[in-house]
Structures are given as C-alpha cells and as structure tokens.
Symmetry: C2
Subunit: 427 residues, 2 copies
Amino acid sequence: MGEANGAPKERGPSAVGGDQAAVRRGNLARVLGEIRQPGTHSRAAVAARTGLTKATVSSLVTELIERRLVRESGRQQAGNVGRPGRLLELDGGSVAALGLEVNANYLAVRGVDLAERVLVERRVAFDGAATDASEPVGELARLAEDAIAQVRGAGALLAGVGVAVPGLVDVPTGTVRYAPNLLWQDVPIAEWLRRRLDLGADVTVAVDNEANLAAVAEFGSEANTASNLVYLTGETGVGAGLISDGRLLRGSDGFSGEIGHIPVDPSGARCGCGQVGCLETRIGLVAAVRTAAPDLAGTALDPEELAQALLERAEAGEPRALAGLDEIGRWLGVGISIAVNLLNPEKVVLGGYFATVSPYVVPTAMRELRSRAVAGQAAICPITASAFGFTAAARGGTGVIAEEVFRDPWRAPLGAEVSPARSEDTA
Amino acid sequence: MGEANGAPKERGPSAVGGDQAAVRRGNLARVLGEIRQPGTHSRAAVAARTGLTKATVSSLVTELIERRLVRESGRQQAGNVGRPGRLLELDGGSVAALGLEVNANYLAVRGVDLAERVLVERRVAFDGAATDASEPVGELARLAEDAIAQVRGAGALLAGVGVAVPGLVDVPTGTVRYAPNLLWQDVPIAEWLRRRLDLGADVTVAVDNEANLAAVAEFGSEANTASNLVYLTGETGVGAGLISDGRLLRGSDGFSGEIGHIPVDPSGARCGCGQVGCLETRIGLVAAVRTAAPDLAGTALDPEELAQALLERAEAGEPRALAGLDEIGRWLGVGISIAVNLLNPEKVVLGGYFATVSPYVVPTAMRELRSRAVAGQAAICPITASAFGFTAAARGGTGVIAEEVFRDPWRAPLGAEVSPARSEDTA
C-alpha cells in the first residue's frame, strides 16, 4: 500500500495498477478532506492525522496542487521541530460547478468555483408547461452555454453540471421519468444537455429532484446543525427533500419525497397528477394565489414576484390575503404533521414562496402541527424559512458536483491553464 | 498499532491503554465479522482478508474463543502451503439474547443464543390497558425471569435484553414516552426491568418501538434482499418501521414511523391519541373486527386468534368478512400509498394480523396503491406478508442484542462456564 500511495508523478487510472490506483484515489480524497477542515495544515500535520507517511502525503499534495484543488498559502509554520513546512489551503478557484434548475415558471443557472465564489447567477421566466420538453431544455442549454463561457472567462474549468427538476428523476441515467407540472414524461435531460453543450465524458451531469437538491443545499449551509431535516419546496409544485442522519433519502428508485401528492382533502380539487385533493392543490403557489390574491391569477408575474405580492398584501393587512395565507398555513400544517409523524425530523425548512410569506403561515402551521403530532411536545420541531429562497435547488446542483470532486479528486478537470493572476498564488 | 493488536493475553479496557484498547476492540469485531461470513475460515485466511498480521489474528482469535464467540471446528485445512491450520467457526452457543414484547393484548418472550438456536419462546394474553404500567412490567419481568433461568439452564449467559413496546421510546434512556394503546406515559421500563431482574451493568437493556424492531428482524431475515423497506405492524395499533439504505430510520428523537396516526378520514372515528380519523381507526385490529366480524368484538380472543378467525371466515366465503377485509384493504392501500409516495421503498412488509389475512387485503391495497402512487408503475412496490407473524418484534429484540455483541465482542458476557456437553465442541 505504501508504494502505491507514495509513487510520485503517477496519475490517472492508467498509470497505476487497478488496486493501487484505487488506494491512491481514496488517499487523495482523504488528504483533500483534511485540508478542507478549518485550521492550518502542513504536510506533516496531514500525515499525522491521516496515518499516511510523509512521503505519501507529499506526493498526493503535489497531485492536488497540479489539479488546482490545493495551494501553498505562502505562510511559514513557526516553532516546530525540523524544517518549517509551507502551509496548505484549499484552492478550487480553477474548478467550477454549474447548477441548473427547470421549474414550471422559470429556468435558473448558478455557477460557482470550488472556493465557493459565485461566478454567474441568472433566472429567467419561462412557461414550462406551454411546450414540449425539447424547448425548455433548449432554452436551458442556451443559459448554460452562456454561463459556461463566463465560468471559462473567470479562468475555471467545468467539473460538472447539477440539474434540478420538479419531478421524478431516474438518477443513474439522468432521465426525468415524470414531472406533472412540466407535462414531461421520460425526458433524457442529461443526455440532451450533454449533446447540446458538447460536454466531454469527464464532465459530470447529475440530475435530481429539485426538493432533494434544495435539501442538500440547506443541509450543507453553514447555519445548519440538524442532521434530520425535511425541506419543503413552495412553488407551483410541492415536494419534500428528506435528510436523515445526514444522508439524503432517495428511496429505492430515487422517487422519495412526493408529499405534494398525498391526498389530504377528499372533497378537494383535481390535481395535475390525476388524483383528487392532493396537498399540492391546497398549498401549491397556484392555490395560494387563488385563495389569497385571486386577482393575480393568470398574470405574468414569476413565482418570486407573486410571493412578494402576497407578502406585501399581508403586511398591508389586506383581509383576503391574511385569511388566505392563514388557510394555507393550516393545510401546510396538515402536510408537515404527516412528515413529522412519519420521520420525526429535527426541523422543517420552508423553501420557495413559503419562505417569503413565512411570518403569515408558520404560526398557523405550528398550531396544526402541535395538535397532530403523536409524540406531543417532545417531537414537535421548529418550522423555519430557508435563507436561500428560490435559489436553493440550483445551489444544491452546484453542491453535489463540488462534493463529487471532493469525494474523488480525480474527477476534477485536468489541464486548467493557470491564468497569470492566479499563478501568483502558488508561485 | 501492530503492538496493540498483537498483544497476547491482554483483555478488557483496563488492560491496554485507551487508544490501543479501542483499536484492539475494533479489530476483534473485524475478525469476528470475517468468521461470521459464509465459507471456511483459517487464521491465515482471516489475516489475509483483514490485512492484520497473523500474530495479531491469532491473539484476537484466542480472545474470541475464550469469550465463546468462536470455536475451532476441528477439521484440517488441506492442500495449503505451510502447516495446516484448524478451521474456525462461529460459536455463540454460550451467549444468549432475550427479546421481550409488550403489546396491548399480550406479552411475549423469545430467547436465542448467538448461533440462532431458540432456547425459549412464549406468549401470554394480557390486557395492557386495564392497569397502570407497573403491573404489565411486573408480569413481563416474571416472564423474563423464567426465560433467563431456561437460558442459563441451556449453558448460556445473558448478553442483553431487547424490549419492544407499541409506543414512542426514548431509546438512550429506555423510557417509553407515550404508548396510547397501553395508556403509558413516561415509563422508565429499562430501569424497572433492570432492577426487578437484578441485571448487572454488563447486561444491555435496549428498548425500542415494536415496529422498529420488527423491521430490523424482517430486514435481517435470510429471505430479505431489500435495503429499503417499510414494515407495518397490524395489531391494536398500527405503526411503521422504516429501513432506508439498510439503516433503521429513527428520526431525531427516535419517534419516527407513526403512520397509524396520520389522519385519513376527516369524517371518521376518534382515535386513542385524541385526533379524529387516524389511519389506525380504519385498519387497526379493533377496526377490522368491528368491520369484518362484529360478533367477535369484546371476546377474550388474543390478536392471533382473532386474526385466525378473520381468515377462516373469509376462507369460508362469509360475505361480511369478505366485504370487511376488502374495506380494510382499501384503507391499508391509502396508508401504504402515503409511505410509498414519501419514501419510495422496495417493498412493504405486513406484520401482525395483516400478514394472516393478507390474501384478502393485499389485492385491494395494491389496486389503491396503483391509483395513488405518483411515480406510477415505476415506483409501485410489492406488498408482502411477513413470515414472522406476531413474533417479529421479539425477534428484533434478540437481533439488536446479537448485533451489539457482533459489533463489539467485548460486550459478550465473560465467565460463561463451559458445560460438559458443549466443551467437546472445542476440544
């Protein structure tokens, strides 16, 4: 094992035998993982903490520097025994991740580098249900193309694209099986994007449900301390992203979290999915507008503008808006209590328009939850508003790509030309 | 590290320094884990597979033999280079685990050794709701006492007791927070049992929800291949045990799985939990008897006898029974579709009376699930009957104790006197 780890200058799966390559690949991630931790890091300290030899760590660090994932920070370590070593820190400035989101009413793109600098961020209104799937995917590809150009202009190479879709996704193939609010069925979006964007085989395209990706973004946010949380999207559709013991619950086929289609109102309206009285027919954005601001139904406002309008009317004390949001809060509480009784999360996080109008829906939802939580006071958890608003899913898209690189640094794109400005950092 | 692993004759946390002890303890589990795998095992083969030195493995095997978890099987390994070694196999015959179950209508006990021999199994009818908690716990302790005597008579020492309760359990303290069908609130059952049974500190007492333990038993059964499953108890109460990616989902406080108290019928009956129209009021055993065999309501039959009576009437073609079970099947499908939409399991396993009458409820439940599963055909999973019937929870109780010993062999009780019959096995 020591030889494989320590082998200098050998890179790529073809350079080292199968098992040794796998070991080196794993150790590369361990070393990068150490350097991601808060605090200062020398090669010697990383060796001590990982249990690898100093020679092995040196070789691995050389590779991480070549891959532009790590850089020497230029400061000297003082007061130690032996020759003072240079300190190491996360670089990541030349590796970028793109997050895309298709929604019923908008398309969004967000590009960041692995040092978490935002390189590009954009959202455009779009009527997803008005056309067949090829048009929104074409539009999304154009957005992505522009974003990739901006990313490259900033001196970064693309590691991958994470795509959020409001529907059921077959994650291994990147195919949207069914997205009721887009009227999509069996859309191989990963393949389409890969072809239109002419992406190389080394660029990951990861497609997932928007609620899953938003939950991942929320879970990974600095403010979060919960390892069990339920994230609820609040857009045209309502879905849940479930994090349990720090892991995303995808279920057997990746189709978990369809809380919006749990029937809660037998005397209710017909849902886009074909059933009657789904939770979504009571608390989706369309229902909220119909209930709290019916004059805005059918206007060209995008979800964020609608959410803002609802908030402003409630703040102005408009009775219809207040009564409508109270009604939304009650049904939201019904839905949340189902998730709480089944999953006992540490907190529920509201996204989308729920987050915008949270002061007007959370108190009623909490009251409903209190009366419905079987475990009583002990299991009642706070209902909080996401700080990420309508950007959560695209953030999650960049997050999964970044995590993939950190988990397996060989996925970082090779050959990034060091721009003059950046090359000084490691000189 | 090598020294700590290889140190011969050193045992127990006090014999080795903290870190070294932890490493040895971990390696003990790794070696035991190898020997648990199917196939033949020599010390040399275990060394090769674990990456530990032969000296280390020899020392660890000596300790596992002393703890009666492993024995030499007496056969010689042929055809290998070097001196032929003796083969090793799981012993476990002197270490026992007890599973206890408190239910609304019965108490049950099951004792097995770690070789999975059943040493004792008993169930007695009991009206849990008729008295305060101390009486059923007293009765349970008497059952356990007899069982422990039988276990000891069979030459085994007790590693621990796993207790299944139909309610919300604070797992770390072994306290039942709330069990609606027993009318229990804040019952420190682990502490009570430990005191009444005079158990030493080295004997584990693990309390958990009955559905959780039944799900663990189902997941660990030889026939099971699913790593995502939902287990539904079918007794007076209805609860779910959730296994996701091979892990039990406990939620933040251990209160997950309360599917029985999801409101499904706003015009329904009041539930023991205080709400109206809970799933349990539609598919609990009381509802089943009321709907399918009302003349049996209030009789002294225990749940298994009631389930059998329902089955016999349905098999005889009695219209009331058939119509009633069909109605149960429909509501069961409503409940299952909630779990499927939220969790997307690979299969749903029915326990308790659901399993007994499964031919008469599953077809209707499947029809309901098909019409309600958002993901359509792709996410519809089979609904199967557990083979463990009413014994699943007690089986899960012994299972968690056994797993604890396998995960950390230092938890196996020391000082088991080898009975004459058993000592021949390792001679």
